[in-house]
């Protein structure tokens, strides 16, 4: 929740002057199951990133060497601050490298 302000303190007309400050809404708390990416199975195809409605898949310039020896210059990670757990990423992943795991079990 944002701090509630007096009418004298807020910009006129209810304008919001800070772009994308919705990042204050940590929608990750909505999740009942979380996507977990198997970095070794992941082929870095970018499909999960492309189809995420939030976006809550991060494309990071983080090199990774998979168990099978393949070298990647990028890594996809889930931003759990915002991921609502819809599971589109897992559903769309062509190599089934993303598993949906119940949140409760994770604790």
């Amino acid at each position: 929740m944002s701090e509630l302000k007096s009418w004298t303190q807020i910009p006129i007309g209810g304008y919001i002057t800070e772009p994308k400050n919705s990042m204050n809404n940590k929608t990750g708390s909505w999740r009942t199951q979380r996507p977990v990416i198997d970095q070794d199975a992941c082929t870095r195809c970018r499909i999960c990133w492309l189809y995420c409605p939030e976006p809550a898949i991060l494309e990071l310039d983080k090199p990774y060497v998979a168990k099978n020896g393949r070298k990647y210059s990028i890594t996809f990670e889930v931003n759990y601050d915002y991921c609502k757990g819809c599971g589109i990423c897992a559903n769309e992943c062509p190599v089934k490298a993303i598993k949906m795991v119940p949140e409760v079990v994770q604790q």
Partner: protein
């Protein structure tokens, strides 16, 4: 009210004395302040304003985008979009058109957009009537706009110029309506002193960067959803802005007076200082005819006076109280009705409340007249002065509105 007779101080400001209808005078003012966008839909009796503006744009006399929208709802919506994008915007409508805009009227004031709109007042359907009164204006009085009601073509011209200054003032940032009698003014040709557009533009300088606008360099979100936690505060800002716009309205008028030699007060009295019997009016026909009647009544020894309300929102309650405190009886002439109200005159209610809030209790009469341009004769107003005399003697306010001229 005699200022209309005076010529402004000659400093080369008046370039021409023209014979203009009030609608043309408004179009002239819109051209002289150099608007950027006009969005409008035709409706009698507003149409000749936008025809004239379309002509100005077509002839290159006004460098603006003219958007011939497909409805009044879209007229004000386009005006809102254009204003939010930083343009100086004008629109105009009447009657059913104003009703169709109603939803967006609240939004324009809520979003604090300095749009200026002309409203030649007209009766509302049903039955359908194209003729003038102020029922349309009364129906939108609570939408958060500043509302002026002019009484001459000259005043309408001057007021549109003042309206842009007031609307765009960073202390105000509210939309403004300039209203006047449909037909009886909108289509009446009168003398109008037209000023040098250079001077008009000096008086209405463009204010850039005083309000956030839709601009990719500085992205802003306009028209956000407010939850109950926020709605009240944001709404109150608009309420407060309208209330406190009065200071700027007065300031702009006194500067206007300095520059152009004309001034209009929120309420204007005629033969009012020693008046026992006062007709409170708004608009052109009611005011000027009441004034003729007052002169005749004075000739016969009755201390008659007229008080015209020029600024309707924010309502000049204190000004009224000051002027009306010495009257013996007061009638308010409404060219509109509020059916089902305790008493049917909408402005009567405002005047009555203003006086009673200030502890002034006078016998008062609510008069409904001039609906759909039913002729308001000078003799009708003359008769009202003698009614007021009886009412003063009796000492009591009549409990019913007087529907004058009703068969």
């Amino acid at each position: 009210m005699t200022q209309v007779l005076e010529r402004p101080r000659e400093r080369g400001i008046v370039v021409e004395k023209k014979g203009l209808t009030t609608n043309y005078a408004v179009a002239q003012a819109v051209k002289d302040v150099d608007v950027d966008v006009v969005a409008a839909y035709p409706i009698t009796p507003q149409t000749t304003i936008i025809e004239k503006l379309a002509e100005y744009v077509a002839n290159g006399e006004l460098d603006a985008e003219f958007i011939p929208v497909e409805s009044e709802h879209s007229a004000l919506s386009a005006a809102v979009g254009a204003s939010a994008a930083g343009a100086r915007v004008f629109t105009a409508t009447s009657a059913q058109g104003l009703e169709l805009m109603h939803e967006i009227l609240h939004i324009a004031s809520g979003l604090r957009l300095p749009i200026v709109m002309a409203v030649p007042g007209r009766a509302l359907s049903a039955p359908i009537s194209i003729h003038g009164d102020y029922q349309d204006l009364m129906n939108i009085r609570d939408t958060g706009w500043i509302i002026y009601i002019a009484s001459t073509a000259q005043e309408a011209y001057d007021t549109v110029i003042e309206a842009f200054r007031v609307a765009e003032d960073p202390r105000v940032q509210l939309p403004v309506i300039v209203s006047y009698d449909g037909f009886l003014m909108s289509h009446t040709t009168e003398p109008v002193d037209v000023y040098d557009p250079k001077v008009v533009r000096e008086f209405t300088p463009r204010r850039r960067n005083t309000r956030p606008i839709l601009n990719p360099e500085n992205p802003v979100t306009i028209g956000a959803l407010a939850t109950p936690d926020w709605y009240y505060e944001i709404k109150y800002q608009t309420i407060n802005a309208l209330k406190s716009s009065r200071g700027v309205i007065d300031e702009v008028d006194s500067e206007f007076n300095e520059k152009f030699g004309r001034s209009y007060k929120p309420v204007e009295g005629f033969m009012i200082d020693d008046a026992d019997y006062v007709l409170v009016t708004y608009g052109g026909a009611a005011t000027w005819n009441a004034l003729e009647a007052a002169k005749e009544a004075r000739d016969r020894g009755l201390k008659a006076g007229v008080l015209r309300i020029r600024l309707f929102r924010p309502f000049p309650a204190n000004d009224l109280v000051k002027v009306l405190s010495n009257a013996k009886a007061i009638a308010v002439i409404d060219r509109a009705v509020a059916p089902g109200s305790p008493i049917e005159g909408p402005v009567f209610k405002d005047v009555y409340i203003s006086l009673h809030m200030a502890g002034v209790d006078k016998p008062m009469l609510s008069v409904i007249h001039g609906l759909s341009q039913r002729t308001m004769y000078i003799r009708d107003f003359y008769e009202l002065y003698y009614r007021l005399k009886d009412i003063a003697k009796n000492g009591k306010s009549p409990q019913e509105s007087l529907f004058m001229g009703l068969r």
